[in-house]
């Protein structure tokens, strides 16, 4: 019996592949499994072909699968286009309806075993839909309890009434029945039933923002980040906050900066092209010391690139994007669950250190739906220093302090009026061209970030071994899975997942790589941005290696394991 399996449902637009996938995933959750689901769609804006890639397992899953066990084709209309994204081999099976014509060439070329599966016939027999037949077959092959499937169907289409439910259930049963005759052994070991958390990284970022105290968000729509704002929009009201749709990205970040100046924890949300437009204002927020959370859900760049696919190529821009020297905090969540924690912490750090803080997510974390244990890890609250014992002419907004964080009263507080300033300024915030104030400001803004104790938010070390892999963001999952497999082959590997990318947690990295024989930085971009960043800061030995590979293809654990072994 297997501990995890991967199934792809695919078909033309309207055939219901995505519905089959989601229902399957939810059923697996109820049956005590963990899971991941990625949606694929063709070039057409809507109505084109679609596929749901679902992996489920007995233990939490860290990464996209290397290969798929089953592909169920609802029809063959353009489904072949997905072949590069659904790796299969001779151990894989393809359920194909002979009535739907010849399977796509690219699918046949994988060597997967073709199984005749009369979807249309079965569906018409029970007056149901083919996608529910497929769902039933998949659940049967995986060994998922039919009660769990039924419950999921009731949850998802309950509103359509008992007749619709009955039809779906009949189709599911027919599919399951027909699957009995398939020669396959991909049954999962029993799951561990219990409460599960179901959501995407984009939703988890929204949740983390609310948990952290964000009460103002402004954004301009952009794939794959829009869902964060869409998730937040109705919920902001429920916690007394506000979501604004801006006329462009520059307006969005400036609205957030204005709201934050008003004393309200604020956030803006975007993807690559939008981030490029925001960098001027990021410099302003850094210079004027305005708290702000900037979420960047990375997609394939440069330029418009591939909006619906994942890449980690915005790191350079997050680290240094804006003219002049402008230090900022850059955090990257390492998993979907971690999106909530990282974003919550980002809000705290922004508020406590009065600075923009990046949350670097990506399309893969953001849009993958997952079944995980509830992300209960929370960050200790930290808040903005608003009080000052000085007032009137004695009040200095940028007063030097031990931790370089100065009092930041919000408008409404009497006697402590100040002017936020992007010009070089003195301790009062008055513009000045004097070298001494300018240099003091640069040092203050650097030191408040570098001297802060980030505690265990800096990252996570798993495993032990003389080979150390350093990774961030969505690469950490596949790296961990690769390490797990290598360990099964007795290759000892330590994985350093970096959550804090700037300022670089040099000491923690040094400790983690001490005594390493080999250090490899793994990241999903073309030029090794993290590698260059760490090397340029001497946070790694010169012999450290880089494994950098751009999107759009997802990092597969097998690919990483092969490189390292």
């Amino acid at each position: 019996m297997r501990s995890s399996i991967a199934i792809c449902f695919a078909g033309s637009g309207g055939a219901g592949a995505i519905t089959a996938g989601s229902t399957f995933l939810q059923a697996a959750a109820r049956a005590g499994y963990y899971g991941l689901m990625t949606k694929l769609s063709g070039a057409q804006v809507r109505g084109g072909e679609a596929a749901a890639l679902v992996e489920i397992g007995v233990e939490p899953l860290d990464a996209q699968p290397d290969r798929f066990d089953v592909l169920i084709a609802l029809d063959w209309d353009n489904v072949g286009k997905f072949a590069p994204e659904v790796p299969m081999d001779s151990a894989s099976i393809v359920l194909a309806d002979p009535a739907a014509g010849k399977p796509a060439e690219a699918i046949i070329a994988t060597g997967a075993r073709l199984v005749d599966f009369p979807l249309a016939q079965l569906a018409s027999d029970v007056k149901g839909r083919g996608n529910m037949i497929a769902l039933g077959a998949a659940a049967a092959l995986a060994g998922i309890d039919s009660g769990a499937v039924e419950q999921s169907i009731r949850d998802l289409i309950g509103a359509k009434g008992e007749a619709a439910i009955a039809a779906s259930l009949a189709a599911v049963a027919a599919g399951a029945e027909a699957a009995q005759s398939i020669d396959s052994d991909i049954r999962l070991r029993p799951g561990h039933p219990g409460r599960r958390w179901f959501g995407s990284g984009n939703e988890a970022i929204g949740l983390g923002a609310l948990r952290g105290g964000v009460r103002f968000v402004a954004a301009y729509p952009i794939t794959p980040a829009t869902e964060i704002t869409e998730w937040l929009a109705p919920r902001m009201g429920a916690v007394g906050g506000r979501a604004m749709l801006a006329e462009d990205e520059i307006a969005a970040i400036n609205m957030a900066v204005g709201a934050s100046f008003g004393g309200v924890p604020s956030m803006t949300v975007t993807s690559g092209p939008g981030l490029s437009l925001k960098v001027e204002t990021i410099g302003l927020a850094i210079s004027a010391e305005i708290p702000l959370v900037i979420v960047d859900v990375m997609r394939v760049g440069p330029s418009t690139g591939i909006p619906t696919k994942s890449d980690q190529g915005d790191l350079d821009l997050a680290l240094t994007g804006t003219h002049g020297d402008a230090p900022r905090i850059v955090l990257a969540p390492m998993s979907i669950a971690d999106c909530a924690l990282t974003t919550e912490r980002a809000v705290h750090l922004a508020e406590a250190l009065q600075t923009p803080v990046f949350v670097l997510s990506d399309q893969s974390l953001g849009q993958t739906q997952t079944i995980i244990d509830e992300p209960t890890r929370r960050a200790e609250p930290m808040t903005r220093a608003m009080e000052s014992d000085k007032s009137g002419a004695d009040f200095r907004r940028y007063q030097p302090t031990a931790d370089n964080v100065s009092p930041m009263p919000a408008p409404g507080v009497e006697g402590r009026q100040w002017v936020a300033e992007g010009l070089s300024h003195d301790e009062f915030g008055h513009p000045s061209n004097a070298a001494r104030f300018h240099v003091a400001g640069l040092n203050k803004r650097r030191d408040k970030l570098e001297n802060h104790d980030y505690g265990d938010i800096w990252g996570e070390v798993t495993g032990e071994g003389e080979t150390v892999i350093v990774a961030f963001g969505s690469s950490v999952g596949p790296v961990k899975e690769a390490a797990r497999r290598l360990r099964e082959q007795d290759v000892a590997i330590k994985v350093v997942g970096l959550r804090l990318l700037a300022p670089i947690p040099k000491k923690q990295i040094a400790d983690a790589i001490e005594g390493a024989r080999r250090v490899i930085v793994v990241e999903q971009n073309h030029t090794g941005q993290l590698y260059r960043h760490l090397l340029g800061a001497k946070a790694l030995p010169a012999e450290a290696e880089s494994l950098a590979r751009p999107g759009p293809a997802p990092f597969r654990p097998g690919e990483i394991a092969a490189h390292i072994a």
Binding site: A251, G258, M386, V419
Partner: protein
């Protein structure tokens, strides 16, 4: 510090004077710059408006005119070039009980910031926007702006840009602004009156102020004579206002239009809270 997130009936303080709105910071403006007049009119208007300095926030972009916030005793935000309106929009929505006034120049507001101007007119958040229009980029030493005459000679556009200026008040009316006025920097008292009306008006109020740049456009000092002070008839009919301003002399001062579009709304606070939101994610086979 507790923040009041909902608009409150602000109490009016009758004891405030212009002096209460002065800061000790010395303006960098050239002696004789029209912006001194605008500063004075604004300080006067703020006093008359009756909100104390700490309940007022002045937001600006970059330019000579945008330096203004530091010269008052209110809270201030001197942001980046062209982005004052979005900053003010965020601030006002987050803190509706504050009096938020936006100031800047014609370059800041009509050139690089033109889109935010148009959308602020449309969105109708309760802000007062004062543009100190000297028909030139003063701070960068004399280039033509969107309100500069087509034939005005400069280094960057010898012989003139060859593009006719646009009318900011016409754009504002077309984009939906609900209070549109024009003032003259050196008519301090009448300008202050316009500004008081603008602040009192709910929703977005736009005040175009003709403010001479004595250094790069010394001929604008002739505006003192040329301004027509009683030629404008205030109307609440947008079409009539538009007909009155299109192609008309841009040197008339007064309140052009005052409409009644409702200001951008309050956020709804639905009684839900975090627990309900957290619960949405849970799949519980036991439930």
């Amino acid at each position: 510090m507790e923040l009041h997130l909902h608009e409150e009936a602000a109490c009016h303080r009758a004891d405030l004077t212009l002096k209460d709105f002065k800061s000790g910071v010395e303006p960098i403006w050239c002696p004789g710059c029209g912006d001194f007049g605008v500063l004075q009119a604004l300080q006067r208007a703020l006093a008359a408006n009756g909100r104390p300095p700490h309940e007022v926030a002045l937001v600006s972009g970059i330019g000579c005119s945008s330096r203004l916030p530091a010269y008052t005793s209110a809270y201030g935000f001197h942001g980046v070039h062209g982005r004052a309106l979005p900053v003010a929009t965020g601030l006002k929505l987050a803190r509706p009980e504050l009096e938020v006034v936006v100031v800047g120049g014609d370059g800041d507001g009509y050139s690089i910031g033109g889109n935010h101007f148009m959308h602020a007119c449309r969105r109708n958040v309760n802000l007062t926007y004062i543009v100190m229009d000297n028909r030139v980029y003063g701070m960068t030493k004399g280039q033509p702006s969107p309100t500069t005459e087509a034939d005005w000679d400069s280094d960057i556009a010898p012989g003139g840009v060859g593009v006719s200026p646009f009318s900011p008040v016409a754009i504002a009316l077309a984009a939906g602004a609900n209070f549109v006025a024009r003032g003259f920097a050196l008519d301090v008292k009448p300008l202050a009156d316009i500004l008081v009306a603008a602040m009192k008006h709910p929703g977005f109020s736009f005040v175009e102020v003709l403010s001479p740049c004595i250094t790069f456009r010394p001929e604008e000092m002739d505006w003192k004579k040329a301004i027509k002070r009683n030629a404008i008839q205030t109307t609440s009919d947008r079409k009539a206002a538009m007909a009155a301003v299109m192609g008309a002399d841009e040197l008339m001062s007064g309140i052009i239009f005052e409409g009644d579009r409702p200001a951008y709304g309050q956020a709804h606070v639905a009684p839900a809270g975090m627990a309900a939101i957290e619960g949405e994610f849970i799949v519980d086979p036991a439930a």
